[in-house]
Amino acid sequence: MAPKLPPTYPLEHSATTAAGSQAPTHHAPPRGLLRWLLTTNHKEIGSLYLIFSLIMFFIGGIFALVIRAELFQPGLQLVNPEFFNQMTTMHGLIMVFAAVMPAFTGLANWMIPLQIGAPDMALPRLNNFSFWLLPVAFTLLLSTLFMPGGGPNFGWTFYAPLSTTYAPPSTTFFILALHIAGISSILGAINIIATILNMRAPGMRMMDMPLFVWTWLITAFLLIAVMPVLAGVITMMLMDINFGTSFFSAAGGGDPVLFQHLFWFFGHPEVYIMILPAFGIVSVIIPTFARKPLFGYPSMVYATASIALLSFMVWAHHMFVVGLPLAAELFFMYSTMLIAVPTGVKIFNWITTLFRGSISFESPMLFSLAFVVLFTIGGFSGLMLAISPADFQYHDTYFVVAHFHYVLVPGAVFAIMAAVYYWLPKWTGHYPNERLAQWHFWLSVIGVNLTFFPMHFSGLAGMPRRIPDYALQFADFNMLSSLGAFLFGFSQLLFVLGVVLCVRGGKKAPAQAWEGAWDLEWTVPSPAPLHTFETPPVFKRPTP
């Protein structure tokens, strides 16, 4: 049979069409809404991620304030317990999957190509797809609140059988929404890995990459490894609910504890997914404002990789009281404590970078320094929780709530804010209003500590988490926490104001907006033009 086309297809054959088809890249993008729907540009998609995450941060924040308003005093005042449970669940889900994770992905989209000298992400259309799955997923998730029987009410960890046998009908929609969000994360992570491994400027070795790029590379690996496990476990839930299987039901030979093992095999790496990019951000900002190169760059990379690998063998520290064999209790206790070593290396390196630096305290630096101090507090309470016999006392109390909010709010969220203040000049061409940013910082620091520090005490005194009412002896600590939460919540309006003002105007920023900043993104103009590094820059290693 005669072939319709020559069997080999030479590349030169269509060199002219190639040039012709490439030209539209440089045409003006479509205007209006369509531009944002169809874009393949990493900067536009990065902005979409960041805006989406900010909106979700406020929605999740409102849920948190409903919780704190109800807990302001003992007794039931504002909401009924069923709705309270939906609020704790939705607050967790939205903050983890719709606020923190997309914020980091947005920063990755904006900054990774700029920091490695790439023209765009490796797979630009897939990038757009990854983003637009998120609004779809979380519209579906939020809509469960309005369904008969209410939304998910079993906590963000959705333990079976609470989330299967005893769950509201909307749980199926919750599972499907989480599937969409998971697909988004996996595809986004694949794109980030391909970009970092394949798109670096000529001359840039792996060990030349800024730490934000390194930490994201490792985070993306974690995402690809554990998001499918989450997909697997929620699929089993879906089957148990709708098709009569017995995965998590002992009556049929299954085991509810199996759910917890699978969930936390995903869940523990998930917390590192939310903190490793934060480590990267802080490792970029602290050297800039200390005007010194990062102390111990290689050890930072190895520490990050060790944390990621260890994160796969510690998951059952969330399950000490579920009835594990003694050997498992011991193994997971010691492996968890081991993580303190690489984490300690990182804290040591940040502090040593500061040592004898000529430090200035602009808002990105303030947030980063607060990160180092407050994240360390969260790390230490984590060590306390890792001690299996002690955890029998702490488990499911407000001490746990204090612990993970210390690593996530003044940890992950502060790092995101530091990153926004740090890179806003590159994004908008204007410096953010420093006075406003400093107000935002100090109110946030006070609000965060007022909210979460008392929770250590109420938790140690025995107050259980996820309850709408509590014994009288916890009243004072709870009132403080609620006051702090409202202070923190409302001071975030200053953040929005600062960002909006910065987009609209402000002091003009040069290409190198910060004196001590030496990464590649500071070699392109501020604001960064829509297309950068179309011809790759030649990377020169900075000589100290």
């Binding site: 637009w132 579906l140 496990v229």
Partner: protein, 286 residues
Amino acid sequence: MSGGTYYVPATSRWPILGSVALGIMMFGIGMQLVYDASSIIMLVGLVGILSVMGFWFRDVVRESRGGLYDTQMDRSFRWGMGWFIFSEAMFFAAFFGALFYIRTFAVPWLGGEGEKGISALLWPDFVPQWPLMNPPDEAVVGPRGIFSPWQLPLVNTLILVTSSITLTVAHEALKEGHRKICRNWLTGTVLLGLCFILIQGLEYYEAYAHYGITLEAGIFGATFFILTGFHGVHVIVGTIILTVMLVRVHQGHFAKENHFAFEAASWYWHFVDVVWIGLFIFVYVI
């Protein structure tokens, strides 16, 4: 390393349409499962996704044949496909992990073994065994019998292993520029894939009709169907991909040294084959 010719498509309507279609499909599945709504919404979403995939891949094929892709783009595709398969491996790992946990810990503990004797209080007469023919609670009816691994499952194993070999022969032929040989061996691979799907369908029929192995038949049925079911879906998808490759080989899309689509399809097929070997050993034999 960047070479300066990296192709960045201007805009594309397929991602946003694909997201919306996926949302419609998921909503439709939910409506059907929870409220017994008709499957129309789900089907609309499914058709939407399939058409978007068709158009999206058409664009990629056109760009590739238009010579817009350089070797760097080729590496991006390779990394992308490789990590995608890794994510699929982790998806199956979750189900294999569940199976191992159930067999090694959960079922013996239910029978009162080891330190977990307290589990035995609920169903004191329960005798642990695998395959679990006697779920602890009377409300759950266990399977009446199980398959011999040395009949249909063995046939299916031989079919898939053979198909991996025929696919490799087809690939080697393509690399040497023997398009006709490639086409023939690829046709054979697709036919073997179809045989596997048919036999698996037959086995499911047997499971329900004669052996009482159903989704409701306790943990054995659950682990059996989730592992073989998702594997079967992957074989179906793989067969579709290989069929598309067959059409493209027929149309002469692939060059001797430049045919990553074909390679990606074969990576995927080999991966599905490896998963089956695991299934055959741990679900059927042991």
